[in-house]
């Protein structure tokens, strides 16, 4: 995926994997089941208001806590096209790349983008544009190696092609 565009759903700092997908739902790994409960412990309305292509914008340390891949899977299955945060917890970062959920780090975007804005992201150039305000921000583009994994739609395909 080279670009994304959608409406922003905004959260604060330290959004942990226990609120992204609570452990009581981990007995399944079915993406559509997980999506039904995504974010429910901090935002009961998420599952009902999210629509395909939406973008999450959050503060620092997004995805901290457990290594459950169910967290990025739930977010991806909810239709989220990209997560932009100040910083990501490292396991969540890895998992997102490995399953092909685009993510990007950018301080300014968090500071300036409001909930409900329409935002577009150009992954190759690392450009985030707030279409509502017209402002542009520069995020971190991926190192080539990670971009290859994303382009292969995940680590396993990347290895298979190897």
């Amino acid at each position: 995926m080279q670009s994304a565009e959608g409406k922003v759903i905004r959260y604060g700092d330290n959004i942990d994997t226990d609120v992204i997908i609570p452990a009581r739902y981990l007995a399944t790994s079915e993406p559509s089941e997980l999506a039904k409960h995504c974010m429910e412990d901090i935002d009961r309305s998420f599952a009902s208001r999210v629509s395909k292509g939406d973008i999450i914008v959050a503060g620092k340390n997004f995805g901290c806590g457990s290594s459950r891949e169910h967290a990025p899977i739930a977010i991806k299955a909810s239709g989220i096209s990209c997560v932009i945060a100040r910083t990501f917890a490292r396991i969540f970062y890895r998992n997102s790349i490995n399953i092909g959920l685009p993510i990007m780090e950018c301080d300014e975007a968090y500071d300036k983008i409001s909930d409900g804005d329409t935002v577009s992201v150009d992954f190759e150039r690392g450009i985030i544009k707030d279409e509502t305000t017209g402002e542009e921000f520069r995020g971190q583009a991926f190192p080539e190696f990670m971009q290859k994994i994303i382009d292969s739609e995940g680590l396993i395909n990347y290895i298979n092609r190897g």
Binding site: D18, R24, R68
Partner: protein
């Protein structure tokens, strides 16, 4: 420029003379771990590989421990999936109910971790084995699948923060208080993408169980790993558990650190992390009277022998407060058995506690002690996020086994000093 201890282990496994911070490497794995939640996802992914099968049946550990003994039908299905995979691939280190334990207590106990090893596990607390001078880190299920298939994983070489320890811990103060104090200083993202390297003469004063507890919670500071140097205590532990000698690694004298913290262990006091982040560390001067409903003593952080001994020493001849529930969970079957032989289980049960078979259980809000709305729990586990142990309005206070035991007796968050 010199390398940190972590960088040296990574370089050795990437077959390179040296590596630098930020470099992307591909490294050989000595062990790949998964549990009943993460392994089924990885096993499904394995099917997508063009090359079927595992890279080395002796270098994979599968430990159903989270919802085990199976708490419901779906958990039972997950366990079945892991069990059948283990059988089909003749995995040596599969641990069935009755021989299992919480993975991060079990692997070192079974002698599966040696100094200098490079280990990944599809569980964030895989960082625990840093206590033995190994590089170990948590990954997701896809990384686990790729690791099982190829015996390799990609890493970005981390920078490191140095924690220079001096002095000696006081009575009823333990590794848990040290790491809660540290996370209180660094914050939950203070070591993001970095290694935490513990060093200094104070290390020798820490028992292995304290070191396991400290390395275990490195992830709660955002770290990639938390590593200790190898000393006589490590070697003794490894001998006792039949582990290979491994490769003893130490940081170069001119290794660079992004930050150095000096910590005098004798100044650490019993510490409690308030809801809802492990960084909300407080000592008893700043803790008002807070009534609690439940105490949990267990988990991969504090379910080891010395933790149970400490809790039993405080609970012996006493009874938990009226209306309290106290749940004690030995982390492995071997610990359970030893606690029985030493008479600790009797002490717990006579004090009014319940003793469970090894399981993660309440630590991640699975079962065996879920909290109702508004309930408060003092827990020796490692995370106090919103809803982690039950209802979203419940509260978890993270503490040491000594603080947890004193709190069970008093029915409120209580200072163990004086017991």
């Amino acid at each position: 420029m010199g390398m940190t201890m972590t960088q040296k282990i990574l370089a050795a496994h990437a077959h390179q003379d040296s590596v630098q911070t930020g470099q992307l490497i591909e490294a050989d794995l000595d062990l790949v771990l998964g549990n009943d939640i993460t392994a089924p996802v990885a096993i499904k992914e394995m099917d997508k590989f063009s090359n079927k099968g595992v890279f080395d049946k002796d270098k994979i550990a599968l430990v159903p421990d989270h919802f085990v003994p199976a708490k419901d039908i779906k958990s039972a299905e997950n366990c079945k999936c892991v069990r059948e995979f283990a059988r089909k691939n003749k995995i040596t280190n599969y641990f069935e109910v009755g021989q299992m334990g919480i993975e991060h207590a079990l692997l070192p106990e079974k002698g599966l971790v040696s100094p200098g090893d490079l280990i990944i596990g599809a569980d964030s607390h895989t960082c625990t084995y840093g206590a033995l001078g190994a590089f170990s880190t948590g990954v997701g299920s896809t990384d686990m699948a790729a690791g099982m298939a190829t015996g390799k994983a990609w890493f970005k070489v981390p920078s490191a923060i140095k924690f220079n320890l001096t002095g000696k811990l006081g009575k009823w103060v333990s590794g848990k208080d040290v790491i809660l104090h540290i996370i209180g200083m660094t914050g939950v993202d203070g070591a993001l993408y970095q290694s935490m390297e513990f060093t200094g003469e104070g290390v020798a004063e820490l028992g292995m169980d304290d070191r396991f507890t400290i390395s275990n919670m490195a992830i709660e500071a955002g770290a990639k790993n938390g590593i200790f140097p190898v000393d006589e205590k490590t070697i003794e532990y490894e001998k006792a558990h039949g582990a290979d000698q491994g490769v003893i690694t130490s940081a170069d004298p001119d290794a660079e650190y992004t930050k150095v913290y000096n910590i005098d262990l004798s100044e650490i006091r019993p510490t409690v992390a308030f809801p809802h982040l492990p960084e909300n560390a407080r000592t008893f001067e700043d803790i008002p009277e807070i009534k609690i409903d439940q105490v949990v003593i267990g988990s991969c952080t504090n379910g080891r022998m010395s933790d149970l001994r400490t809790a039993a020493a405080i609970l012996k001849g006493r009874h938990i407060a009226e209306g309290m529930r106290c749940i004690v969970i030995p982390a492995t079957e071997a610990i359970y058995l030893k606690a029985m032989e030493e008479g600790l289980l009797k002490i717990f049960i006579e004090a009014g506690a319940v003793v469970s078979t090894p399981t993660c259980g309440p630590c991640l809000g699975g079962y065996m002690g879920i909290l109702a709305a508004g309930e408060r729990c003092v827990s020796t586990t490692n995370r106090n996020f919103v809803g982690r142990m039950g209802d979203v309005t419940s509260e978890i206070y993270l503490a040491s086994p000594a603080t947890a035991a004193a709190s069970a007796i008093e029915g409120k968050i209580a200072d163990p000093t004086g017991y």
